[in-house]
């Protein structure tokens, strides 16, 4: 006898919960017509950025590829004879079919070159289309970090910065001077 009442009550309560939703706003988003808000720090597609002067930020230090837990980054360092001592990647390849968007590469990057952006739409019919070369990764802007320019703070000479012209540097030592 008692159990009938319990069943009936549960039935009513359950129906009430359902009916209550009839008058609330639905949470379903009409993707792709409607876009969800993703915070700027959301970890999606990986890009290579440029420094404020418009040059490639990547100096091919291999730290991202070493940090990558799925080993999906491969690159080869090369030297640009025109831009003295300025290293750049000869090729830079990310296999997004392996990428887990963990952001370790971004954390490892000493020049803010590699950045994860809030774009996640990387569906392809063929896996090979998920292999991104440098041309596919490189964007024209600075990404999330606007002002950093590695070569301004590094000690090496480049085509547009002689020794001693970097940030917080003394002019080159005159070895032949005996002055204290």
């Amino acid at each position: 006898m008692m159990s009938i009442w319990i069943y009936a009550r549960n039935l009513v309560v359950g129906l009430w919960v359902v009916f209550k939703r009839t008058f609330t706003k639905p949470v379903t988003v009409q993707y792709p017509e409607e876009r969800p808000y993703l915070p700027p720090r959301w970890r999606g597609r990986i890009v290579l950025t440029r420094d404020p002067d418009g040059e490639e930020r990547c100096v091919a230090c291999y730290l991202c590829s070493a940090a990558c837990p799925v080993d999906c980054i491969a690159l080869q360092a090369a030297d640009n004879p025109e831009a003295h001592e300025r290293r750049y990647p000869e090729f830079f390849r990310i296999n997004f079919s392996r990428c887990i968007y963990c952001g370790m590469c971004e954390e490892a990057c000493p020049t803010n070159a590699i950045q994860l952006i809030p774009d996640f739409e990387q569906s392809e019919y063929a896996r090979r289309n998920l292999v991104y070369e440098k041309e596919d990764l490189l964007i024209s802007g600075t990404g999330k970090y606007h002002d950093y320019n590695f070569y301004r703070v590094a000690g090496v000479r480049t085509c547009d910065k002689d020794k001693g012209q970097g940030a917080n540097e003394f002019p080159p030592v005159d070895v032949r001077s005996l002055m204290p």
Partner: protein, 919 residues
């Protein structure tokens, strides 16, 4: 043995060591910069501070530099003491005040001693906000890059370059905190050992310029043990590769051979492997017109074609090579039969090698390892130009001259590691080093006495020395008083020494100098000295080839011209380097089929009717026997691309192709993997039996696992090939060695030949080698330093060489042309490396000034010299050290085919000098 107490733990240590070495030997991490196991301590960097306590009641203690404190019994120290830690942290913070923010673009990054030590001391954040000091860099030639900003003033570079390697053109300039380590002005570093600066420098001031051009971090490199193929010393190297390209060579510690250092030819000569002239596909020429190039062909068709020709052959001549591995030569010998196997070297060289082999086999004096040479306390060099023929041995001799003054150091109770004090005590004293030969180099500045003469006179000096030392040794009566005095001085120095070393070689082509060296060594041995003999041989596997036996190249020529055979198989050998052009041309013309196995195109490969692409050293497994008679194994570093295969594998395939019809294969046809090759080679000669023990066999496993060639942090596994295929192909399988081309496998202590690179947690730089040794500077744990195949026999009556050459007499019109070997230029393989090619000097003829005047030549003029049918354009150098009546011809690639020594009428041979001068 002493007991030291470190942080309340007792450790047994060698009391001859300092505390730093003692701690490192027990795996206790004490940071350091200026100390180096081969160069001792100077206490300059203050980084290795530890706290020393008087006794167990002493609570306060005092800071000491562990590298400057002897490890005496009962020493009580603390590494973890907070004050010592703070001191070390502040030292590194000072060093980092001016260190640039370069790590991402610095080639040292990831294998930087400074990075390791910074992490070890715990210095994480830069507090200094002041500007950094900067320096201008210098262009230091094709080998080394210079970035002075990174310098931490540890003085290791100048200590190595000047004090250890005898260099003069690198120094420290400036004062106070603006010290500059470089040359007086831009220019190539002259010393033959400059490449070691890359490893000696704890940070990125000196980096490898050839590596820079195809840079990869250390953790991404796939590496294995290799043996340097560029001279006969057999230095151990670590060869590294990534994605199919050879990237660099680093030194590989071997306590018996090269220790911590390599020469520049060995370090920078590797790029022949990636040369544009590599042979990558088999080529076949089916017609008989040799002017037409062969056409590339598939492997099965090539083998079929070659097997067909070999089946029809009326006789096969197999020509081996002193630069091919023992296994490849043995494969050829097995294929063609021992009677038809020829060593591929000319008759005179073969005779010299067999004399040397006889001296070592039947004599009482053992050959010297490089380690023995460093320990020698008196040295006599009869003939060879060590700096150019065997540079690492010259470096060993620079250490040997410190041995005798060390006795005084021991008397003064100065520990040998205390470098500054040792130098102070030694001053300019040098142990006896006598050098006789026909060419002067900077090494002669370190010699007690030098003697420049023709090879016969050098041999006479040796025989005179032997006669003075051993009364029953044959001696010379007709000898000038100055030479007699010199011989007397040499004999005295050698008899006063404990561990004398006599060095001779094949370089000057003189049998007499080798015999004289043997006589001197045997005479010393009879005096009860711990004598050693060292012979400098022409190439990496000359000794191995001599052990295999076989006729000379001239015998091979005869076999073809006498129509005993009509088919030739040439193994990794450019015959044009070894015999007259006309002779080789005639040889090839008479041969119906010429088959060549080689890795690089040269004049001989152009003649090949069948050309097989052979693997180079880093692409193959093999054994070399060095000049000491030490067999050492080199391992394949990376899988060969395309059709390239090891020579022995080609020959084995060829043998199978021949025997396909009917009978089952025998001999070389049964070789399936490298272990088969080694086992079969070991059967060829009784002395080779022990080559199986050189390194672990292919079936060697630990915990059932193979050993990885790649590091634990090798990157890019899923993307390196993804532009070609998405399917991530499995790594190549290695059937020939216990190692794999992967990151997977056993990690832990392994026999030394299986160590891919020296690395330990916290020790990313090459200084990690300390962690592989039980005692710093001593042998590696489980070291397999190669096997000495030839040991002396105990005999009391030496079989003295009695033939005494006559005094060298300059002829009126004829000059004895002698070879002048060049460290950069005389080695066939390293010449093909761009960096080495940049250092090759123009060919020259050196003459005594009086001879030059007689020939009416001017110094530094250019002449055209006709030698053995070819005209060479040469510069003339007047050298007072060139013996009168002889000329020196530099053996650089342009004159590589010339047979020297030879008597030449220079009046006749010099063609156009006068014309040119007139113009």
């Amino acid at each position: 043995m002493a007991i030291i107490i470190v942080d309340n733990q007792s450790y047994p240590v060698d009391e001859k060591q300092n505390l730093l070495a003692a701690c490192l030997g027990h795996g206790l991490n004490v940071p350091y910069f200026c100390w180096h196991p081969a160069m001792g301590s100077v206490g300059a960097c203050r980084q290795c501070a530890v706290k020393q306590f008087k006794d167990d009641k002493d609570q306060s203690g005092r800071l000491v530099m562990s590298c400057m404190t002897p490890a005496t019994n009962g020493t009580r120290i603390s590494i973890d003491d907070p004050e010592a830690k703070a001191f070390r942290a502040s030292v590194i913070e000072w060093l980092m005040v001016n260190h640039p923010h370069d790590c991402p673009v610095c080639d040292e990054g990831g294998e930087c001693h400074l990075q390791d030590m910074t992490v070890m001391t715990g210095h994480v954040y830069r507090r200094s906000r002041f500007p950094k000091r900067t320096h201008r860099n210098q262009a230091l030639g094709p080998f080394i890059r210079h970035e002075m900003n990174r310098c931490i003033q540890c003085y290791r570079c100048v200590r190595f370059y000047r004090d250890y390697a005898g260099g003069r053109d690198l120094n420290v300039f400036g004062a106070h905190d603006a010290l500059y380590f470089g040359r007086e002005q831009d220019g190539t570093l002259e010393n033959e050992f400059s490449g070691n600066l890359v490893e000696v420098c704890p940070t990125g001031v000196f980096t490898d310029k050839t590596f820079f051009k195809h840079y990869t971090r250390k953790w991404d490199l796939q590496s294995a043990q290799s043996i340097c193929p560029h001279c006969s010393l057999g230095c151990n190297t670590t060869v590294s590769e990534r994605s199919g390209t050879l990237r660099r060579i680093t030194n590989r510690f071997n306590s018996q051979v090269n220790g911590y250092f390599l020469c520049d030819r060995g370090r920078f000569g590797y790029e022949y492997v990636t040369s544009d002239h590599r042979i990558k596909r088999p080529r076949v020429r089916s017609g008989s017109d040799r002017t037409k190039p062969g056409t590339p062909e598939g492997v099965p068709k090539t083998l079929e074609f070659a097997a067909d020709r070999l089946r029809q052959a009326r006789g096969i001549v197999g020509i081996g090579s002193p630069r091919a591995s023992l296994e490849a030569n043995a494969a050829l010998q097995a294929l063609v039969g021992p009677q038809q196997f020829y060593q591929g070297i000319d008759e005179s060289e073969r005779r010299l090698l067999s004399t040397i082999l006889n001296v070592l086999r039947t004599g009482s004096v053992p050959s010297a390892s490089l380690h023995d040479a460093e320990q020698a306390d008196a040295v006599l060099v009869l003939g060879p130009d060590l700096l150019n023929e065997a540079p690492r041995l010259a470096l060993a001799l620079l250490q040997s001259i410190r041995q005798q003054p060390m006795e005084r150091v021991d008397e003064l109770k100065i520990p040998q590691w205390d470098e500054a004090a040792v130098r102070n005590a030694v001053q300019n004293r040098r142990g006896p080093l006598f050098m006789a030969g026909h060419r002067q180099t900077w090494l002669h500045e370190y010699a007690t006495d030098r003697y420049f003469a023709a090879p016969d006179d050098v041999a006479r000096l040796g025989l005179a020395v032997a006669g003075i030392i051993g009364p029953d040794a044959p001696t010379i009566s007709d000898i000038g008083s100055d030479v007699r005095d010199l011989a007397q001085r040499i004999a005295e120095a050698l008899t006063h020494a404990q561990r004398p070393l006599i060095i001779a070689g094949t370089g000057s082509g003189s049998q007499a100098t080798i015999e004289a060296a043997a006589n001197v060594a045997w005479a010393l041995h009879r005096q009860g000295k711990q004598t050693r003999l060292s012979f400098v041989l022409p190439e990496a596997n000359s000794a191995g080839l001599a052990l295999l036996g076989g006729g000379s190249l001239n015998d091979a020529f005869d076999a073809i011209s006498e129509k005993k055979a009509d088919t030739v198989i040439v193994l990794e050998n450019d015959l044009y380097r070894r015999a007259d052009r006309a002779k080789v041309d005639a040889f090839f013309d008479k041969a119906h089929t010429v088959m060549v196995l080689d890795s690089l195109e040269h004049r001989t490969t152009a003649y090949a009717d069948v050309l097989f692409p052979a693997a180079t050293g880093p692409e193959s497994n093999g054994t070399f026997v060095n000049q000491e008679g030490r067999a050492q194994r080199f391992y394949q570093v990376f899988a060969q691309s395309g059709d390239i295969k090891e020579s022995w594998r080609w020959l084995s395939d060829l043998a199978r192709a021949i025997s396909q019809d009917g009978e089952s294969g025998s001999g070389v046809a049964t070789w399936r993997n490298f272990d088969d090759a080694v086992s079969a080679t070991a059967m060829v000669a009784p002395e080779l039996a022990r080559i199986r023990e050189v390194a672990p066999s292919a079936s060697f496993r630990l915990v059932g696992q193979k050993f990885p060639r790649q590091s634990e942090r090798c990157s890019g596994r899923t993307s390196l090939l993804s532009h070609l295929t998405m399917h991530e192909p499995p790594p190549p399988v290695d059937q020939d060695s216990p190692m794999g081309f992967t990151m997977e496998g056993y990690r832990g202590p392994v026999p030394a030949p299986l160590i891919p690179q020296f690395w330990a947690p916290g020790w990313n730089s090459i200084q990690a080698v300390n962690t592989y040794q039980d005692e710093v500077g001593g042998p590696l744990r489980d070291e397999m330093p190669g096997v000495r195949l030839i040991e002396p026999v105990a005999t009391n009556a030496p079989a003295w060489f009695t033939s005494i050459p006559r005094v060298f007499q300059p002829a009126s019109r004829q000059w004895l042309l002698l070879p002048l070997s060049a460290v950069f230029g005389s080695d066939e393989l390293s010449n093909r490396s761009p960096a080495i090619a940049e250092r090759i000097a123009k060919p020259f003829l050196s003459l005594h000034p009086s001879d030059g005047a007689r020939l009416n030549l001017e110094n530094h003029s250019t002449i055209d010299l006709v030698l053995q049918g070819t005209t060479y354009s040469l510069a003339v150098h007047f050298e007072p050290s060139t013996p009168v009546g002889t000329g020196g011809l530099s053996l650089v690639p342009e004159v590589s085919g010339v047979r020297v020594p030879a008597w030449i009428d220079l009046f006749e041979a010099i063609k156009t000098e006068r014309k040119r001068r007139a113009a």
